[in-house]
């Protein structure tokens, strides 16, 4: 087993044992923190497929996170107010069922990623960063100016949505839902990286010309990756909104895009567990330093600077060393 595999296993186990300890110790807030880590890590796993594997520096993933959040907010809002979403041309009602909400969040954010990606991926480098940022901002202002769904104030959901057979109001049960989804996404991401598609996408990041020369179109590979990436981040958005029982335009903000990217950079770009390590560190810092000073982002900035200057591989790169070439 490589050091990275061992580190990943420790991380996965730690993220599971910490809330279980909190449950036994009756510290529900700690369970909520762990749930935040799992959900934000999930958002990062999504971005990492575009960023790590595809080399697509998207500064607009808040778009998908927000769409997932609003998918949850809008469906639950209609369900709790007993008003239909629409009546013509056919009736669509709200829902409080998590699985249904997840599917809608996945589909809506995948569709948005298809449109945003199809346009943005015609550019590259700094233009790509700017265009994705612009799309995120467009959705941010759109959400602010949409009074039907709370506008600037956002939407509150009174009771957490339901999952068959579980009591989602129990923090540990909701944590386990998020944890299982994160685990599934990690397994999918691991599989993707080793798949034929992953090989081609990763090659297109390194040398697009080569990929064309063997008869594969890099644009299509990247668009596919972008859609998968956006859908996973969208699912995380739906869970995040459910955790807070609240959704607001801030989910669409460029700070949110930045934070998702920070998880990856802190944890290690293109490392499978990079987003998990990064989100865990981020939440831990926010909790510890945030308690000491409201300007804790200064320390985050310093840490980020140190990682970028001295530890490019992030936490995982530093602890587990250079990635071994695949067998």
């Amino acid at each position: 087993m490589s050091r990275e595999t061992i580190f990943n296993a420790v991380l996965a186990l730690g993220l599971l044992l910490f809330p279980l300890w909190a449950y036994v110790a009756d510290e529900p807030f700690m369970i909520t923190l762990a749930t935040r880590v799992a959900i934000l890590a999930l958002a990062g796993v999504g971005l990492n497929i575009a960023l790590g594997l595809g080399g697509l520096v998207s500064l607009g993933h808040a778009a998908f996170f927000g769409i997932g959040g609003y998918a949850m907010g809008i469906l639950a809002h209609h369900a709790q107010s007993y008003t239909p979403l629409m009546e013509v041309p056919f009736l669509i009602e709200g829902t409080k069922s998590m699985p249904v909400i997840w599917l809608v969040a996945l589909a809506a954010s995948a569709l948005a990623a298809l449109v945003i990606g199809a346009l943005s991926l015609r550019t590259s480098g700094v233009y790509f960063i700017m265009i994705t940022l612009a799309f995120g901002q467009m959705l941010f202002y759109f959400a602010i100016s949409w009074p039907a769904y709370g506008g600037e104030d956002g939407l509150s959901i009174y009771v957490r949505n339901s999952f068959p057979g579980l009591n989602t109001l129990d923090p540990i049960q909701f944590f386990l839902i998020a944890y299982v989804i994160l685990a599934a996404a990690l397994m999918f991401a691991a599989m993707l990286a080793k798949s034929p598609f992953g090989l081609a996408l990763n090659a297109a990041r390194q040398t697009a010309e080569r990929v064309e020369t063997i008869g594969i179109t890099p644009y299509r590979l990247r668009l596919t990756a972008f859609v998968i990436s956006g859908a996973i981040t969208g699912l995380a958005g739906a869970l995040f909104a459910d955790l807070n029982r609240f959704v607001s335009p801030s989910m669409f903000s460029w700070q949110t895009s930045g934070e998702i990217m920070i998880f990856i950079i802190l944890g290690g770009v293109a490392r499978l567990f990079g987003p998990v390590a990064g989100a865990a560190l981020f939440i831990a810092l926010e909790h510890v330093l945030g308690g000491l000073s409201e300007f804790w982002h200064i320390y985050l900035g310093l840490l980020l600077l140190a990682v970028v200057l001295y530890a490019r591989g992030g936490i995982i790169g530093t602890l587990a060393g250079r990635e071994v070439a695949h067998d």
Partner: protein, 249 residues
């Protein structure tokens, strides 16, 4: 006479005031090695880009397998069976040698949109890749990271990736560069056989290799073909000797 597999017809291309291709015409016949020689900066790589699809000519046409491909993309030309190697290696440096070869096999198989099974467990692709690596003598290095290869070995890998495509024509930009004496000798022997699988347009500075291999040679100087002919023709061509072989005629 048989139809040429590839023909370049009156291709011109300027970069600002620089004429990189000046009304170039040449063709590649079945079973032949056609060497393209010329001093540094003559426009050999620029011509190859126009043949392979990375660069559009200002005027003129490129025909491949009887079809005008001038307006087709690199991807479309590759799918038709144009196998190209790069002068400056275009390989996935972070990946292993085997992965690079498998990428070629994946492109040839036209099914990259598979998400679930590990590509390295795909026996068919792996066999294509390993056969190609074996043919260029790189199979022992299959598990090595490509960035750890020597420059010469990267050229060999370039050739191996092109082999996985089973192309209808090879376009090779200086495959011998950096190989060393024994490496070039080996590759010369290999290309000698390879021409029977598909003809080769060979850009090469190694004149021993060119004279040993070429059925025909075209000489490019300042973007212009100043001579085309057999090895004997070119050896005895006064203008070529003056302009390129550096002799006082």
């Amino acid at each position: 006479m048989t139809e040429p597999v590839l023909s370049v017809r009156n291709v011109s291309r300027k970069f600002g005031a620089l004429i990189a291709s000046n009304n170039v015409s040449l063709d590649l016949r079945p079973g032949e090695i056609h060497a393209l020689i010329g001093p540094n900066g003559a426009g050999k790589s620029t011509l190859i880009k126009q043949i392979a699809g990375g660069l559009r000519p200002d005027s003129g046409e490129v025909h491949f397998l009887g079809r005008d491909v001038t307006a087709l993309s690199t991807v479309q030309r590759a799918r038709m069976g144009l196998g190209r190697t790069f002068q400056i290696s275009a390989l996935a440096m972070e990946d292993t040698v085997l992965q690079n070869a498998m990428l070629g096999a994946l492109g040839a198989g036209r099914r990259p949109y598979r998400f679930f099974r590990p590509v390295l467990k795909d026996r068919d692709l792996r066999e294509v890749a390993e056969t190609a690596l074996d043919r260029v003598g790189l199979l022992d290095h299959a598990a090595i990271r490509t960035s750890d290869l020597s420059h010469g070995q990267r050229r060999q890998l370039e050739v191996a990736v092109a082999l996985t495509l089973k192309p209808r024509a090879f376009i090779m930009d200086e495959p011998m560069a950096g190989l060393g004496a024994s490496g070039s000798k080996r590759l010369t022997g290999f290309l000698d056989e390879l021409r029977h699988e598909a003809p080769i347009l060979l850009v090469e500075h190694d004149m021993d290799a060119v004279f040993a291999l070429a059925d025909r040679i075209s000489v490019l100087v300042y973007g212009e073909v100043i001579a085309t002919g057999t090895v004997e023709d070119i050896r005895n061509h006064a203008e070529v000797r003056r302009a390129y072989l550096g002799e006082d005629a």
